[in-house]
Structures are given as C-alpha cells and as structure tokens.
C-alpha cells in the first residue's frame, strides 16, 4: 500500500476487509457493522518530545507529520493498537500485558532461536508437534513446550499477566487492579493460526472452544474473567506488609490485575503429517545443538486485552522431527 496524500484536505480512505467481503458474499446477514474503534498503528509516541526547546506547540510536530499508509484489506494486519476510553482523565499509568516466563508453575523462559539460550525479551517458544519429537528432545530444554496430545497434559501453561509494570506505584490492596477497577482486564482474545495450533485448557490440555476462524485461518478465542475461570484468574498480593509483591510469580513490578493461562496444542494435521511443514515451513532446525534436524513452522500467538486493547505477540516455532 502506498502513502495517502497528506498535502491538502484530510481524506478518509475506506475499504472492506477480506473478512468483510467474505461475509458480504455469504449473504446470510452476517455482514452487519455494529461498533467502531479508532487505531493509531503508525504512531510512534516515542517521537512525542515534551522537552522540545521551542515550546509545547512543537511537542507533537513529528507525530502529526507521520505519513499514513492506505488501508490494508487484511483484517489481521490493521488496528493493532486501539485508542482507549477511560472515564478518568487524570491517569498517569496504564496497565500492560506481560508474558510470564518467571513463574515456577508456568511455561518458563523463551529461547533465542539461534543461540538456543534463555531470552529475556524477544524470544520464542518451541512447540513440539508430536510425541516422537517431544521424546526425542527430552526435558530440560529452554523454551520447549509439549504440544502433542499426551505431553500437553503435564506441560505448564503459558501465563500472561496484566497490570502496571512500574515501581513508581507501590503494590498494595488499595491500588491493586482488583475486580471493578476500570483498568483491570476482564476479557482476553487469543488469536492463533488454526492450521497449526489450537488453544487448550490450562488444566488438562483439552481443546478450547473457538469463537470464530476468519478467512485467513486465524482462529479467535474469547476468554472472560466471569465465564472462563479456568483461563482467567486474579493475581493475588503476596509477601509481607511493607514488602508486598504479586503472588511471588508475576513479572509485573506494580499493581496487578488478571492473569490469562492457556496451553497450546498442535493440530492433527501438524501431528500426523509433514504437508504443513513442507508448504509453510522449513527443514533443518536443530532444537539441540548438533542434534537431530526438525521440520519447523514459525507462527505467532497473539493475546489482546479486549477491555484495555493492549496486545502482545509471542513468536512460536512448531517443530516436528524429520
């Protein structure tokens, strides 16, 4: 897509997404626009300079000069970050969603795919597609999750913690993002490529109910704090008075809200065949340095807070022994 002409009047370039066109073509009345949201995908707020020497009129000059691309028709390629309505206008901190790779009872560290070392940030998880691959890799490898139907049962779940990640706000019962707090996330959307992976329950690894699968085979799962207590839980405050922390498990440094827990399972097609790997993936990845070669597919797990709009993408590499 090209940039929109920003030399004159402000124009609005509107298109139906591929999903919109698919629903329109279906002719069953499923194309009905019911709500809207505003996005700011192109904006880099780091270029907002509130220390500009020329004064406040220049703070957002760079932001306002950001060129905007024409609309993408792929529904998953746009509206990545949404504008947020909060009744209070005096907020200085907003919650985020963090992958919990520290907690003892969660999935653990991600790995740097090249060095196979623990990655504090920007790492990936490896998901085994079948039992043979899992057994071949064995236990103790960094960032490896069991994605086969047997191994998933004893696999710790992935956890995503929502709250303030700052030490500027102390953790206490008074300022926790407890139920009822407007900044608490109460619903999560989990998006994953339905051809490769399914979302499973954190308890027994059975496959969760998908909300819908779009035209690009991206499956969306909705989990709410009220209806899906197996997936969404409260992050409690632990520690002693005066030295409080979030349940000794959370990476969040400030007041915490809710936690989403899920497991990932490889699809039957990925477990039982190599077609997906040869079509969408590649060969020759060594999960263990100098070890066996594996087919692999790189994909993404996306977690979006429905209420707060915050979004986290986790790279996933699905592997199967060659």
């Amino acid at each position: 897509m090209a940039f929109l002409d920003n030399s004159g009047d402000i124009i609005l370039d509107a298109v139906l997404t591929d999903t919109g066109r698919m629903r329109l073509a279906r002719g069953d009345g499923s194309f009905r626009i019911a709500k809207f949201a505003f996005g700011d995908d192109e904006i880099n707020y780091e270029s907002y300079n509130k220390n500009h020497a020329s004064g406040s009129a220049y703070y957002d000059l760079t932001v306002l000069q950001t060129p905007i691309l024409e609309a993408f028709t792929n529904n998953t390629s746009t509206m990545k970050s949404k504008l947020l309505t909060v009744a209070r206008q005096d907020l200085l901190y907003l919650p985020v969603i963090r992958l919990n790779h520290d907690g003892n009872s969660f999935a653990g560290s991600t790995r740097n795919l090249s060095t196979r070392a623990d990655a504090d940030a920007g790492g990936s998880y490896i998901v085994t597609a079948d039992e043979s691959s899992r057994q071949n890799i064995g236990n103790g490898q960094i960032g490896v999750l069991h994605g086969d139907s047997t191994g998933v049962t004893d696999q710790n779940p992935l956890a995503f913690d929502q709250g303030l990640d700052t030490t500027a706000v102390s953790i206490s019962t008074n300022n926790a993002l407890s139920p009822g707090n407007p900044l608490r996330e109460t619903q999560y959307i989990v998006e994953v490529d339905d051809r490769f992976l399914k979302v499973a329950t954190p308890a027994d690894g059975s496959i969760a109910s998908v909300s819908f699968v779009d035209d690009d085979q991206i499956a969306s799962y909705f989990f709410s704090e009220v209806a899906d207590t197996a997936y969404v839980e409260n992050i409690t405050i632990g520690g002693n008075e005066g030295n409080r922390v979030n349940d000794n498990q959370s990476p969040l440094r400030g007041p915490a809200g809710s936690r989403l827990k899920i497991k990932l399972r490889a699809t039957e097609a990925a477990t039982n065949g190599t077609y997906l790997f040869t079509k969408f993936g590649n060969t020759g990845y060594q999960v263990i340095a100098g070890g066996d070669n594996y087919y692999y597919i790189d994909t993404t797990l996306r977690i979006t807070g429905f209420t707060t709009g915050y979004r986290v993408d986790i790279p996933i590499r699905l592997v199967k022994k060659q």
Binding site: L12, K35, Q65, A71, T78, L83, P95, T166, P182, T307
Partner: protein, 373 residues
C-alpha cells in the same frame, strides 16, 4: 471500565443513494487505426472470433492483459418477410442463399428477444422505430461493455459520429481516409432522451437516436435512426442509414461493390465484413455512464472524554504515559485509523485518515465513514 469499542447507534448510521456519472469518450482512432500493423494492416485491438457472430473492440492490443473490452459490433436482420424501415417490401426477401443467413437472423432474434420481448402469442417482436412507427428489419448492433456503461448510459448524453458515405476501400485504412473525401460525418444522438424515453422494453428504458443531417431536419421524425437501450448499454441502428436519401443526399456503399439499399447490403458479406466496414466509418462515440452508488455512512463520534488514551506499546514507558508528565496533564492520543466491527468483534471495514488527528479531552471528533456498494 476502560473500553476500546464504541457501539454505533441507529442515529449514527445513514443510508443514501447517489448517481455518479463519468464521461466516456471513444475516438475513432481507437476504434480503427491506432493499433494497425504497418505491414499487413492487421488491427491488433480488434478481436474476431471463429464463430464469426460479432467483433470485439479493445482499447489496446487484446492479447495484452492491459487491454480493456470497449464494445462489440454485429449486424442482423429479421427472418420474417415484411416491410423495411421505409415501409417497402424486402428486396430481396431474407433468404438462406445468404451464407450467414442463420447467424444474422439469430443475432437479430436474440437482440430482439432481449430488448423488445414477445408478443401475446409468444413470438419475438421486431425492433420498432416508435417515431416513424415502422419496424427496423436490418440492424447494426453496438453493445457496449459494462466497464464503460456501468449501470446505465446517462439519458441524453449519447453521441455517435460516423460516416455513412464512401466505399469500403475508402474506409479500409480507418476512418481518417473518408475525411479526405470532403464529406461530413453524421452524428446520431439521443437528444430527447433525458425527457422523451420509452419504457416498454423488457430490458429497461430506451430512447430514439436521431441523426443531425440537414435533410430531414434533426429531431424530425425522419431523422429517427435507431434506438438506444440505456440499462442494457446497446445501440441499435437501422441499416437504412446507409440508404441513399436517409441521411441527406450522400452516396453509400457499406461493402465493396455494393451501392444498394440496406436489404441488399445485408444479404451479402459476413458479419465480420460489416463490422469492419462500420468500425472504419466511426469518427467518435461519447456518452456519460451512470453508477448507482448505494452508500452507508457511519458517523463515528468521539466525545471529549472518549478515546484519549492509547494501547499502542510506544504510548507507555514503564507503564507511564509518555505524553504526560503529571497526572493532571491532559491525555493525548492520535488517531489514524477507523475500524468498523461486527457484533462478534471481527474487523469488517477499515478507513485510514491521510494524516493523524489529535484527540484530547478538550476536543470532539466526528468521522464520517462512507461505504459504497
């Protein structure tokens, strides 16, 4: 509670219908001449078919994927004996001696079936000139492509300028050759189409094409030369325009060696021969098309206290809002995109602003997103 979506109320959604018109000019050089081979005279933008029932005109050599179909040319005559447009008996009568008798009569019948319909006995009605009140038994058909016509030809906007004089040899190199003869083209227009059209066609509305020649006067009954079906996008010209005396006192010979009335002309030659001869006489075609735009307008309103924060990862630094120093500072966000969602949160349409809009708690925005169908 924080939220990223806002529900559209019924008062935020408005349905409208508009008509969009575009001017469509087709010069004679496109129709014949521009893409001719300099060696053998082959016309690369003209497609002839093995079935020989019609000829297609493209705006570019048709083997190129860039080529667009403009219109077709074909001819046909009624299989029934009877009077021609002048009320004279056919001479000769339709005969299977014509090598393309079946193709020409089938073409006429097909067009008549679609555009004129059937009588009470179920028989196909012939084309009838409502001004002259006579049947048009031999016709030239110009079906225009949907790319040009869109939903319909705008009434009163059609103009076809063509030479009805000169021999095929004189036209062989394209319409430019005839201009050397010093005769003027005849222009056929649906001059009264905007308020004088007819509605008794099964294919929609149609107007009468009048020629502008001095004798008879333009818009006289005698100048009625054909029909223009607006929604079907098909011009039907009577072959009588090539008859001596129809458009002034000009000499006519549509095909080589013939200088006869339309009936005789249409009994000889193939459809492709006629199509070539007609194309080479066309100087200019122009009309306005019409697109019916059914639009839904969504008014996306952001009140003063709405959409003032962002979930953009760069909006926060260690959870602190970058655009604020103190909690009492006004929240600021910049919007670039409007997403329209279904009830199940699927993104159905998206609109991009050409530049970011600043949103604070001191301003309100209403963005009007129009989706055309």
């Amino acid at each position: 509670m924080a939220t990223t979506f806002k529900t559209l109320l019924s008062s935020d959604i408005v349905n409208t219908r508009n008509f969009l018109h575009e001017s469509v000019p087709l010069t004679g050089t496109i129709v014949s001449g521009t893409y001719n081979s300099t060696t053998d005279g082959a016309e690369y933008n003209i497609k002839n078919y093995a079935h020989g029932q019609f000829q297609s005109v493209y705006d570019y050599p048709y083997l190129s994927s860039s080529a667009n179909h403009l219109f077709d040319v074909t001819v046909g005559y009624s299989p029934k004996e009877g009077s021609d447009a002048f009320g004279q008996a056919d001479d000769p009568a339709p005969s299977t001696a014509d090598s393309q008798y079946t193709k020409k009569t089938n073409m006429y019948s097909q067009m008549a079936q679609l555009l004129v319909g059937y009588d009470e006995s179920g028989s196909i009605k012939p084309f009838r000139n409502p001004i002259r009140d006579v049947n048009m038994k031999q016709c030239v058909f110009l079906p225009f492509s949907r790319l040009l016509v869109k939903d319909e030809i705008k009434k009163g906007s059609f103009s076809l300028a063509m030479y009805v004089s000169g021999s095929d040899e004189e036209h062989g190199a394209g319409f430019g050759a005839i201009s050397a003869l010093g005769v003027d083209p005849v222009t056929f227009t649906d001059a009264s189409g905007s308020d004088g059209y007819y509605t008794d066609s099964p294919a929609g509305e149609y107007g009468v094409l009048f020629h502008n020649d001095d004798s008879p006067e333009a818009d006289d009954a005698g100048a009625a030369s054909g029909l223009l079906y607006y929604q079907a996008g098909i011009a039907v010209l009577t072959a009588s325009i090539f008859n001596d005396g129809f458009c002034g006192n000009q000499q006519h010979a549509l095909l080589s060696g013939s200088n006869q009335g339309s009936a005789q002309m249409f009994m000889s030659g193939t459809i492709d021969n006629f199509a070539d001869a007609i194309r080479h006489r066309i100087q200019n075609i122009s009309f306005n098309n019409t697109t019916e735009l059914n639009s839904t307008i969504y008014f996306c309103r952001a009140n003063a206290n709405e959409f003032n924060y962002s979930s953009n990862p760069t909006y926060l630094s260690e959870s602190q809002i970058r655009v604020k120093t103190n909690a009492s500072d006004q929240p600021i966000s910049y919007l670039t995109t409007v997403g329209l969602y279904g009830a199940d949160n699927e993104l159905l349409a998206v609109a991009k602003l050409s530049e970011p809009l600043k949103k604070t708690n001191t301003n309100e925005l209403t963005l009007r997103v129009r989706l055309d169908y």
